[in-house]
Every structure is written in C-alpha cells, then in structure tokens.
Symmetry: C2
C-alpha cells in the first residue's frame, strides 16, 4: 500500500512507484539514508542536480502509537558534505503516512530562479508555479498558502535562507496551529530544497487513513504499555511537560557544561534568567500556554506558546538548544530577545543552533560584543536581508570562522556544536566527533546518562565508558529515527525495559514480524554503517572524527577539564 | 654548516639548531614538507598555535647553478586543510642559502594583535615589534622597512590579507629592484604568517657566501651544460623570454582550453587583447622592460616591467595565470586593468589565481557582470578594505560559492583551478585532482606535453596516458621544488636528456654523492608519499581526489568534451 513519490524538478513530473525491495522494511531516517546512500553520488554538489531531497515518515507513522509522527528529511548536506538526516515534529509525518506515502523523493533541478509548490493529497499529486511566494518568510508563505489550501492541511516550506541556499537553512513544518514553528534544522536541508526550487509542499490528509495493522489487538496492548511508560517516567511526564526542553539550562549549567561565550566557560552567570523555570513563569504571567504538543499524538507536550510583553503570540517555546545558542553562548540573558530571535529564525528558515554559533563566533571576531542582544538581532536581520555579512552568518559557524580568521570555531565536519560542552560532558563529545551527521546531540544523547543518570550512570568527566555509551545510543537512535518516534521516548526506554519491548511489540504487530531486541540493534547498526559508508565515499576518514583542537588544549572552567578521549577510542566506535 | 632557525612566536625566542638527521639531504619543498609532516598535527587549526610556517631555499641554493634561487614556503594550508608548499622567486632563497640557513621554522602564536618583524643576518637573528607596520600593504611595508634596512637586503612580507588571515593571502618576496612582486601565492601561506603575527622578515646577505662544493670542477662543468640547455631550448630562450608566461594566452586559447567566464567556455573572444604578444607590444611602446629576471641567477628572464599609460612603473609583467584569472575567466580584455589588479594583489598580498576565481564565481552569482573590469577592481578594493564582502572574496572561490549558493565552483580540495581547463587538457586535470596541494598546475605541468609537445606527445583530449604523464611530472616536480630550481627548467629537462643529467651531476658534485636517475625518482616519490600521508592523517581520502562534478557533466566548447578520466585511474596515480 505504501508508495514512493518521485518529484522530478527538471521535467516537473511527479510519479508514484512501488517501494522496491531494497527499501522495504525501512522508514524515517532508515529510508532517507538508504535512498541517499544508494541514489546520490557522494561527491556531488549538495545544491546541484544530482543531490536528492527525501522526506519520510517513520515506520510507526499513522498509528495510534504515542509520539510517532516525526518526519525525516534526508539528502547530502551542503553544510557538512556528509549524508544528512534531520527530523522534525509538526503534522507532516502523520499526514504523509495517512496518505500511504513512505517517501517523497525530490530530484533534479528546475530552470534557474523558478519556484514551485507541490500538492500532495489522496492520490493527487501536483507541482505548480510558486513564483508569487518568492522572498517570503515561512510565516507569510504559510499565510498566503492558507488562503488557497485552508487550515486542514500540513505545510512544509522554506524561508529566504533556503531560497538563497544558505547552509544554515532549515525546512519548516507547520504545527497543530498551522504555524511554521517545527524545523528540520540541522545540515542545511532548506538549502537543498531551495536549490530544487521547491518553496513549499502542501499535504492534505483528507481521505487518508490509519496505517493497516496486522495484529490489531497486540498493537493496542503494546501501545498502551508504551503510553503508560511515557506517563510514568518523570522526565517525559513532569520535567519536559512543565518547563520544556529549556529545563536543561539550570541542569547543564550546574553540571558546568553550559557553553558560554563561544565555548569559553561551562557556566553562565545569567543562566537563571533564561532557564525553563523562568520560561514557565513568564508564560504563566502573560497567559501563554504551558504544556503544548508540537504534533498530534504527542503526550509529552514539551512545548508551549510564548507571548510578547503585550500578550500577543510571538513564537512557540524556544527549545533549550535555541535558548543556549543565542543566550549563554552569546552572553545574552534576555528571554524576550531570544524569543524574538526564535521567531525570526523560524521565519527566515534558519537552524537556531548553527546560526547562534555563527553569531557567537562573529562576537569572538569582534563584530559585536558578547551580551549585546540588540546586536545579535541586528546580525540576524542581516541574514534576512541577504547582505554579504548575512551570507557569511547564514552559511554557518565554520564559514564565519574562516572568513574572519577566528581560531575557536566549535564545529565537527563543519557543523556547529550544540548546547553541551564536550569537555564537561564527555559522552556527548564522542557523539559529536563520530556521528555520521557532524556535531549532533540528537545522534546519541549521552547527556541523558552522563548528567541525568537515565539508563545508568557514566561519570561525565571521566573517559571510561563514554565510547560504549555513545555507540549504543547512536545505534538505538538510528532505530528511533527510523520508527518516527520523538527522541524523548528514549528516557523511559533507557530506564524501563518494558518501554523498549512495547516498541518492538508494536512494530511486530503492525508488520506481522517477529523481530527480537537483537534484530533491532542490527537494524540500527545497518543504518549507521550505510551512512558512514556514504561519508567515506564522499571523502571523509577517521581524521574527520575529531573535535576541534581547542577542546583538547583549552581547559573549560569550572571543572578545568579538556576533552581527553583517545583518538584510538574514538576510532573504535564503529567496531560492530 | 647549514642550520635551522627556530622562531618561537609564543616566547619570542629565536634559536639556531643543527639539522637533525631526519631532515638531512633535503631542501626546498622536500624540507618544508618533511618538517610539516613530522611536526604539525594534521588536524590542527591552520591558523592556530600548532601549525608551523617553514621557509626553505633549495638544495642548489647559493650556487652558480642557473635559476636555482627559488624559496619554498610550507605549512598546513588554511585554504585546503592539506599540507602545502608554495614557492616563489625573488631574492630571499639565494640570500638565506648564502647565510647557511636551510630553513626558518616559525612556531607558536604571540599575544593577539601584536605584530613582529624578524631580522636574519650573518649569525644575527632578531625578533622585534612591528606594530607600526599594521595595516600596511606590501609596497608600503617594504618602503617603510627600506628606511631602516636599506636596499641590499631581501624582504619577505604580508599585506592586509595576511594580517586578516584570509585563506587567499600570499607571502611576498622582493625582487632585484626591492619590490614585493614575487609571491608564494597558493594556499594561504600569508594567512599562516599573519596568524603568527609575523609581518615581515628582513634577510641581509652581507657576510654570507656561496655554498661549499665538494667537487668544484665537476660542478662547474655540469652547471655549464645546464646553462647551455636553458639557452638552447626554444621555450626558455625565446618564448618565455620575449613574451613572458603570458605567451600562453594564444596557445591555450587556440587549444580550446582557456577557461572563460568561470569555466563555461574554452575560448575567449578577447584573447588577443591580453596575450603575451600584446603585453610585449605595450611594453615596448611605453618603454617598459622586456626580458627581466625575477631573481638573481635567472637566465630565462620571463618577466618584464609594466608601465602605466603615463609611463610610470605599475607592476611587473603579470603572469599568464594572473592575466587569465582576471581576464578571460572574468570576461575582461583590458590589460591595463589587469596590470592594476596585479599590482593591487601584490600590495594586499593575495593569490591572483585564487582571487580571480573568487571574482569569477561572484560574477556567476550576479554580484557583477562578466566583462566588467571596473567592477572587478571594485570587488578587489572590498578585499583591501576588509568589508564582509571582501572577507568572502579573500577567503577564496570555494567560500564565495558556499556563501552565494553557486553551483559551478572550480576548486579541488577547496583550492581554485588555474588557467587550463581540464576538459580540454586532460593531463592537467589529473594533476588538479590528485596533487597533494589541491588544484595546482605547477604540481605536475602536463600542459607541456599535452599542448606544447615537450617531453613527448600525449593527446590532450584523449584519456590514454594522462595518469602516467601526471604521475611522472608530479614526481619530477617534487624534486625540482626540492632543489630550488625554477619550474621552467623542466622544458629543457623533458626534451634534452643531458639537461637532466647535468642537474644530477651538480647535486652529486656539490654534496659528494653518487645519485642516479633512479635515486632522483625515489626522492620525488618519497616527498609525495610524505605529503599524501599528512593529508590522509588530516582527513582526506581518494574521494577528495576528484574534480567538481560539473567538469564531468558540462561539455566545454569548442571541443565539447567532459573530463572523463576514470576514478580508478585517478586512484592509481599514487601506485608507486
């Protein structure tokens, strides 16, 4: 029943095809990576005709399973040059799965300067001109499209950054309120979409249906166990729900691993002012929304609605990594400024992590002072205007470092580091160094075990056990991303054996399989190896699996630690 | 007798040491590469404390051998991330060798923002503040230093581009007229010098002497044979001497391999206007100088002095690659504009090849029109001012492509291609793809055999024989660069067996050795393997030994050829 939609931007054709055998049994990241690894020449230009942009809901999409609506976006990354899967919440994943679409594969290139939109409905696929949307941000784009397609659809779009093929450009997905607040942020997938002249996708779920289930009873029972686990675990039922991901500000600051002023300290004196507790308080005072899901079927509800001082909608709750990137890492402690920045990034279509790092490196270069919130907003506006300075900043932290001759540039494979300093939380450093995606905390979130003691306790400051921890998490994450599950299900899964079993049981019940835990591990390993093989063919080797040297030479206060996992240990990560 | 000078910019010490055994028998590129490969961590920041900048005259430096005064500049390249040797004419090579200095190794980093100059005389080495030179171009820098050190010394300096650590920054060397017209251009060695806060080196040869020769008679005899060969071969005695390297404009245009308007055609309609014949004619009309050597001991004299329309000195004869980069490749046919640009690049301290490509890619992005000479000069001025646009352009063509989302970006390992289209001259394409230096014509100048039929005849449009040709030239070039010989000696060497024998005889006579032709080949192979090993440890693999994909997909007029040497063949280049 599930199909692959081939969208050819060169001849503007849209074709439906059965899933060939070599892609069967895969969804989400597993499917996007398999298609990219097989069909994209690894040394091609990421913004050229031979790259492909792949959208895929997960294997548990369009089911009653909680938090199963994530969507994966894959391609060769213009930022890193590696294979890339970036995933997002919002409505698109569930809607695509309900329409029986396993993947949309966007190929080729249209005539230079032309823009198109793709409509995807029940057995109806249409590519049409969208030149009228040229130069619009995501908010305006969605508003304009709403006039034609209404409020009962999901929108996928790019802002100005994607049109300009900036390596920091994201792909935006609308949430339940039809706002473009959910982003596949990392790795410049928005630039790939822009290179293909695809401004927007409209996904109309009408006529769609839940995915067929082979053993409905077994699925229902397993789904219930899974839901209960999410409702029981304190992280997914209390911490995230009340304070959002921003709850981490105080936790990571306390742990001495909150990168401050371009990774020059692990503690920020203004942390309290931008912490989740403050976010909750401001939201309550202004009568915003606390505990809000980013997609249908979410029972964690780690988001919220942030109102400005006048009580008007400004943006969704900025994520922890966003607050960090533009807050502590730029020396800024103004949550309203950060929320405005979050809104602007959503509108231009920018990865908040990458661009926050761009700004911090620019501050290190002396372009603005650390702590200058108005200055940071000015720099962001440069990106929106597409000025030369904006082009530099929108291209990511590595390019900012190169153009301004900065030494402390926190990137791996040209992708900027997220909100956890690898000198104070060494497990995540292993993930940054070795992930097939460049520096990416979601690829193997060792912070959970290093700091929150979920799934065990590995001392964040010691070198022992970090490679094993990162390895097992990277393998497990590849599966979670393949199933279309929100990564936060990992908290109960790591602590409660039955949460994991419930997931396996759901997959087996849905597809009539009898997968074991070992089979699940083997699937994760297969996906990672496929991705790593692409990267090898693209020109990467073990020397690319390294953190920038300053992490090995500059001690991070307050622990005064360096990153000291041995290179041989890093190189053993893929020994499986 | 020969020593290594260690200049530590962290503690501002200068120390002299004997040449350790592992560096003995090496000079020029062989020595810079050996030091970098052994002492520089391959994954370090090229502008960080762990990179080193090495200057080394060749093994035949300070002898009576003709054209033996080249100087090699080595380090890890901020442009490519590979090992780098960039060499130059001028007086420094001979002067250093006369002072008995085999290499200057600049290490560490000084306090941020401080500038220094290094004086090197007979047994006198001094590092002193040079903050008064901050922000000066190379011409002003040299003028200022002349006031203190006079006209009987050689100056090595960086302009604004080097101070700003731009990846397109060169290191300038003064010529016989004490003008900073000779540059180690490629790979951003000027940025490394800038990162080390070293604005200038003053080399005073007074008290220095010719290098000791074990067998003076044999040396003299061999040197004479070598000189005769240079005087006999038509390329080194007529073509280059009368028309400079710019003689190639008409030759390469005729061959259909003159990259025009950012590598979109192989023929330029305005070629005649910028050709060597025109350069000669303008020079004669204005009473400039035809046939001028860039360094003492040169008997080829391929340079000249270019006067402006008022008859005042403007610059030395722009090289063919400079004329090409700013002429045909930007669609410009104005030799006066190109000469002004050459002067400005020498002054700012910029690689004319890299930055000409930056401008062409910027033109492709629509920032200026192809053919707009005044526009090109304006863009160059942006670099001189250090504006954000200037930062982008000064960082090289790859960065211009990334920031402006351009697809046709002619770089290998992030270094821009020189003046020969690899689709029409396939041998040079093999060199671009596989050289340890990134795209570099001087690393294995297959154009000689493909087009000029020197050293044989390998059809430029066929795939057969190109890998073998490039391989043998890359090996031979590594030796020429190690001896400190001007690359143009390769013309007689390739055509006249005795020219090669004369070189071997000189080396043997000088050092009391009995090297054979096989030993020479083995030396070249050893250097290449050492360089390639560094690159592997820095993160490169075979997939980096590729031309950008557009060379494989876009046919080049007029021959309508693509670059079609198979990847397996490219990968066989280092099979020795």
């Amino acid at each position: 029943m599930f199909k692959i939609l081939r969208v050819n931007m060169s001849d503007l054709s849209v074709n439906v095809e059965d899933i060939p055998e070599h892609y069967q049994g895969l969804g989400g990241r597993g499917l996007t990576s398999a298609i990219v690894a097989r069909e994209v020449p690894p040394t091609c230009s990421a913004i050229g005709p031979n790259n492909k942009l792949v959208f895929a809901p997960g294997l548990l999409g369009a089911t009653a399973c909680a938090n199963s609506g994530r969507i994966s976006v894959g391609g060769k990354s213009p930022l890193t040059g590696t294979i890339k899967e970036s995933n997002s919440g919002g409505q698109a994943g569930q809607y695509l799965a309900r329409l029986g679409i396993a993947a949309i594969v966007v190929e080729g290139l249209p005539e230079e300067g032309k823009l198109y939109k793709l409509f995807v409905g029940k057995d109806k696929y249409e590519l049409s001109p969208a030149d009228d949307l040229k130069g619009l941000g995501n908010y305006d784009t969605v508003d304009r499209l709403k006039g034609q397609f209404g409020e009962k659809v999901g929108y996928v779009s790019i802002g100005q950054a994607g049109e300009w093929k900036m390596a920091g450009a994201s792909v935006a997905f609308t949430d339940r309120e039809i706002r473009p607040t959910r982003h596949a942020g990392r790795g410049g997938m928005g630039a790939v979409m822009g290179s293909k002249g695809l401004k927007a996708i409209i996904i109309d779920p009408e006529g769609g249906e839940l995915a067929p289930i082979k053993d409905k009873e077994a699925f229902k029972e397993a789904s219930k166990r899974f839901t209960n686990a999410l409702k029981e675990h304190p992280v997914t039922s209390q911490g995230l729900t009340n304070y959002g991901t921003d709850i981490l500000i105080n936790i990571i600051n306390e742990a001495g691993g909150l990168p401050t002023r371009n990774f020059s300290s692990g503690r920020f004196e203004g942390a309290e002012k931008v912490a989740g507790e403050t976010l909750n308080q401001i939201t309550q005072e202004r009568k915003g929304v606390v505990s809000h899901g980013c997609m249908s079927g979410c029972i964690i509800r780690c988001s919220g609605i942030y109102l400005d001082q006048q009580g008007n909608y400004l943006t969704k709750w900025p994520e922890y990594e966003t607050v960090w990137a533009w807050g502590p890492n730029c020396g800024i402690d103004d949550l309203d400024a950060i929320a405005r920045i979050d809104r602007a990034c959503d509108d231009y279509g920018l990865d908040t992590i990458e661009i926050g790092n761009s700004i911090a490196v620019a501050m290190e270069a002396g372009i603005k002072e650390f702590g200058d919130a108005a200055g940071a907003e000015e720099l962001l506006a440069e990106i929106g205007k597409g000025t030369p300075l904006g082009r530099i900043l929108g291209s990511g932290a590595a390019i900012v470092g190169k153009t301004f001759g900065v030494r402390r540039v926190p990137v791996v494979k040209s992708q900027a580091l997220p909100a956890y300093d690898p000198r104070a939380i060494k497990g995540i450093g292993v993930t940054y160094a070795t992930s097939t995606m460049g520096a990416d905390h979601t690829a193997g979130y060792a912070v959970a075990t290093n700091i929150m003691k979920v799934g065990g306790d590995v001392d964040p400051l010691k070198t022992e056990g970090q490679v094993e921890l990162s390895r097992s998490l990277q393998i497990a994450t590849a599966v979670i991303d393949t199933l279309g599950l929100c990564l936060f299900v990992a908290f109960p899964v790591m602590d409660m054996p039955d949460a994991f079993n419930a997931i396996v049981d759901m997959v087996n019940a849905k597809y009539g399989l009898s997968m074991t835990a070992d089979d699940v591990t083997a699937l994760g390993q297969k996906i990672l190896k496929m991705e790593r093989d692409f990267n090898t063919r693209a020109g990467f080797n073990q020397a690319d699996d390294r953190l920038p040297e300053f992490f090995m030479t500059e001690k991070l206060p307050p622990h005064n630690e360096v990153f000291d996992i041995k290179e041989e240990e890093l190189d053993s990560l893929f020994n499986f």
